[in-house]
């Protein structure tokens, strides 16, 4: 497998300019001859589809939700980073670049990250021009807040609903193109197969989720902006419909899967309350601007939090990481919370929780200011727990939130399957082994507005394989594969529901490949997952038929894919015999419990290649070359 990252030569800060100057262009009259398929309508997908439409390409955009506006980017709360340096606190493109590389524990590709930092400033301009109502100061200029892993304030926000507002901006831009007839939108339509013609991705097979009709769509290029696979863990902050089906189909058609074990666990989520629970709700990292994390110093201290005197509280993040304090990066804050709970100092049901306390901020700023900053988050917390965060500290615990891993892409965001581009959370490139807060929105929009629309043009201008007809034999064959898979799912007719299997898979992954991992646990998971998968195909019950709106069938297909992907996650975690960022292998830790990286053997991207259903995948490595930064031990102390 050829992992040519196609990083342009020259100094880091000039690489993107250089690439843009080299890119071959498609003249405006020819653009309308090309068709591009975009799967997914979140920040990455919607912004890409809108921009491609504006440029004059003919675009088809697919999403499984009933409207493009409901993609899960909508749920991002806290903010979006950009190196604007409006607060004059010393920020720059170089600093955002370095913070992101360091935050990712030196496992991201430098050139991609530098480009991300460069275009971050354009994103804010674009979104403001669209009418995104960012928070502002009284003078009318944009306001900023701080996020984890940074010592500057570079996060732009729209109360606690930044993702919603940015997505609505992209959705409106997309809607404008739909109204103009340049983008055709297919909602309630799920992509179930990538079609490869002469070695290039040239179309998709989709299922209409209302009628069950399975159809083919041909194109000159296919773009996946289908989000992450955190739902493999069952309990996560992802929406119920988030799935890995599109990337998994692509993997099986030749796109390499990079760093699948890099799964982010967010430190501040509302703890699990019972077996029935279907999802976990995030409490934005922005709360750590004013909230202080603590746990009782004594084990098993069951007193209500307000009765525990100051001297008997352990503000553990401030103690362990004095220079970043409560704004330590996510992987570090999550592990610290886990350690506290493992020591028996956790609070709430089952002892799996710590406090996030706003009493200092309330005393310093007053309730009105605190509510203005975090009002909707406090409301959400109240709805779920029936507790008021102004009266008693929040209880929080880490939960699966985001995945840094994804399909491998080169500098042009093209996968190892020519013609298949991957953007946003679905690709792997920018966050290394840990993503900093407020960087997901930045990356999704950078890819969709400012990077992919250029690079896809270069492919179209030079592609040797032209758009086939959707009646071609390759499409018929792909449709047959989809029909066969659906038939197989409906035909098992066993005794157990899809959610039972999903829950069990989630438990295996969380216990063995969650916040802490070790070789023995991963080996155990690698035996349990195939066994569970076998059971699934013998005993799952997906009722009903294909030719109808059948949500159980949709779920069954997604869980079947998670049951395969889960194994790859563990395989990757076992092969990466070091600790880095989110990937904490217990065998490799410092005396103080921090990650011990192994740069000599693992300063690379692991890219897995599918070898067929009955053979194990092969692991390839793309070495990470650090030209601009030097590999350093990450410290937030």
């Amino acid at each position: 497998m050829n992992l040519d990252s196609k990083i342009p030569g020259g100094p880091m800060a000039q690489k993107w300019d250089r690439r843009r100057a080299e890119i071959r262009l498609v003249n405006p009259a020819n653009k309308r001859k090309f068709e591009v398929i975009v799967v997914g309508s979140g920040l990455a997908g919607a912004s890409a589809a809108a921009t491609l439409g504006e440029l004059g390409y003919r675009v088809k955009c697919f999403c499984f939700q009933d409207s493009a506006r409901r993609a899960h980017s909508i749920a991002a709360q806290g903010g979006i980073n950009a190196a604007k340096n409006y607060p004059n606190d010393g920020d720059s493109v170089q600093r955002l670049f370095y913070d992101t590389i360091k935050g990712g524990d030196f496992r991201a590709r430098e050139a991609n990250v530098h480009r991300l930092a460069e275009v971050s400033v354009n994103i804010i301009d674009q979104c403001v021009a669209q009418g995104v109502p960012f928070g502002r100061e009284y003078g009318g200029l944009l306001a900023n807040r701080s996020f984890g892993g940074a010592q500057v304030s570079r996060t732009f926000y729209a109360r606690g609903a930044t993702g919603q507002q940015l997505l609505l901006g992209a959705y409106q831009a997309l809607s404008r193109q739909v109204g103009l007839g340049r983008v055709q939108m297919f909602a309630r339509t799920e992509m179930l197969e990538i079609v490869v013609v002469n070695g290039h991705a040239k179309g998709v097979v989709v299922r209409d989720l209302v009628t069950g009709k399975i159809t083919s769509h041909a194109a000159d290029a296919v773009v996946l902006g289908t989000g992450g696979y955190g739902n493999a863990f069952y309990l996560s902050t992802n929406a119920q419909g988030c799935n890995a089906t599109a990337v998994w189909r692509a993997w099986k058609k030749g796109a390499a899967f990079a760093n699948p074990c890099f799964t982010q666990i967010h430190p501040t989520c509302i703890p699990v309350s019972g077996e029935h629970q279907s999802k976990l709700t995030l409490m934005s990292e922005s709360l750590r601007n004013d909230g202080r994390c603590w746990a009782p110093k004594a084990k098993g201290d069951r007193r209500p939090p307000r009765e525990i005197p100051e001297a008997e509280r352990d503000y553990y993040l401030e103690r362990m990481y004095p220079s970043y304090g409560n704004l330590a990066p996510r992987d570090i804050a999550s592990r610290a919370a886990k350690r506290i709970c493992d020591e028996g100092r956790g609070v709430g049901p089952g002892g799996r929780g710590v406090y996030l306390d706003f009493s200092d901020a309330l005393a310093r700023l007053g309730e009105a200011t605190v509510r203005e900053r975090y009002g909707n988050l406090f409301d959400m917390y109240h709805e779920i727990t029936a507790e008021d965060a102004c009266e008693t500290p929040m209880r929080i615990y880490p939960a699966i939130h985001y995945v840094m891993g994804g399909l491998w892409v080169d500098y042009d965001l093209m996968s190892t399957l020519p013609g298949l581009f991957v953007i946003g959370e679905a690709n792997f490139s920018d966050h290394g082994a840990n993503r900093l807060g407020a960087s997901a929105l930045m990356q999704g929009l950078a890819d969709g507005y400012f990077i992919l629309p250029y690079t896809v043009g270069d492919y179209l201008a030079t592609a040797k394989v032209k758009r086939p007809s959707a009646d071609a034999a390759e499409f018929k064959q792909a449709e047959e594969e989809v029909h066969a898979r659906v038939k197989r799912l409906l035909g098992v007719n066993g005794k157990r529901t899809v959610s039972e299997f999903h829950r069990r898979l989630g438990k295996i992954l969380w216990e063995n490949c969650g916040m802490a991992r070790n070789a023995a646990g991963l080996r155990k998971a690698l035996q349990e997952i195939p066994a569970l998968r076998e059971e699934f195909w013998k005993d799952v019950k997906a009722p009903g038929k294909n030719e109808e709106l059948n949500q159980a069938l949709e779920c069954a297909g997604r869980v079947a894919d998670f049951l395969e992907l889960g194994e790859l996650i563990c395989r990757d975690a076992l092969a990466r015999d070091e600790s880095c960022g989110c990937h904490f292998r217990e065998e490799h830790q410092m005396e103080d419990g921090e990650c011990r990286r192994d740069d000599a053997n693992f300063a690379h991207v692991a890219a897995w290649e599918f070898q067929g259903e009955d053979r194990p995948p092969v692991r390839h490595a793309e070495p990470l070359v650090y030209e601009e930064t030097h590999l350093a031990t990450r410290s937030y102390k």
């Binding site: 939700q65 749920a75 009418g131």
Partner: protein, 251 residues
Amino acid sequence: MNFILRIWRQKNAADEGRFIEVPARDITPEMSFLEMLDVVNDEVTKAGGDPVAFDHDCREGVCGACSLVINGEPHGPNAKATTCQTYMRSFRDGETITVEPFRARAFPVLKDLVTDRSAFDRIIQAGGFVSVNTGQAPDANTLPIGKDAAEKAFDSAACIGCGACVAACKNSSAMLFVGAKITHLGLLPQGQPERDRRALAMVAQMDAEKFGNCTNQYECQAVCPKEITVANIAQMNRDYLVASLKKLFAG
């Protein structure tokens, strides 16, 4: 806790539909309303039945996918909350709970509790945007916007497009939804150049989708999970009137 669900079942758009009673057993007060439906669906599936179809996704009150009219109220009994943010502690043990889809001519039922709300998308496509291509934007701080205006714009922009306003209205009016977008963009300087044509185009599409008119009952405001107020409808009417008059005298 145990409940009886009096729930709407409808095979597809062509089917007439009917209420069916289903028991919901061993429910805990911490379950969300949708988690309760998950439990019921698992039971139904195991018994060989067809699980109840309902729209849902983020389950944290922001995607706008979940709908449902619960005991006659869109999004259930609690103010400022969507169905997914409604917890079973809000119901009495043993209660019979009636669950129906959002009902409106413009929101046809597709199956059980799932409706087609794509009319909302078409209204946005008609004019609910600022026409700015990628790359055309000036520096973000060249255009100062007062904090109060920005906050008010956010209040309107907070709409999640769920359609509860339509479901609550006896006329199935979409004016709260349309008014919220017209107000959001109309409050900002970026929205000014297209303000008139936006109002005309969105209202025309709203009428074409067969949504009804507003008769000032304010039911929409009462059920809106994001507290969008009827002041947005007043703003829409003003913008529409101004735009219509300008068109009349210009034309």
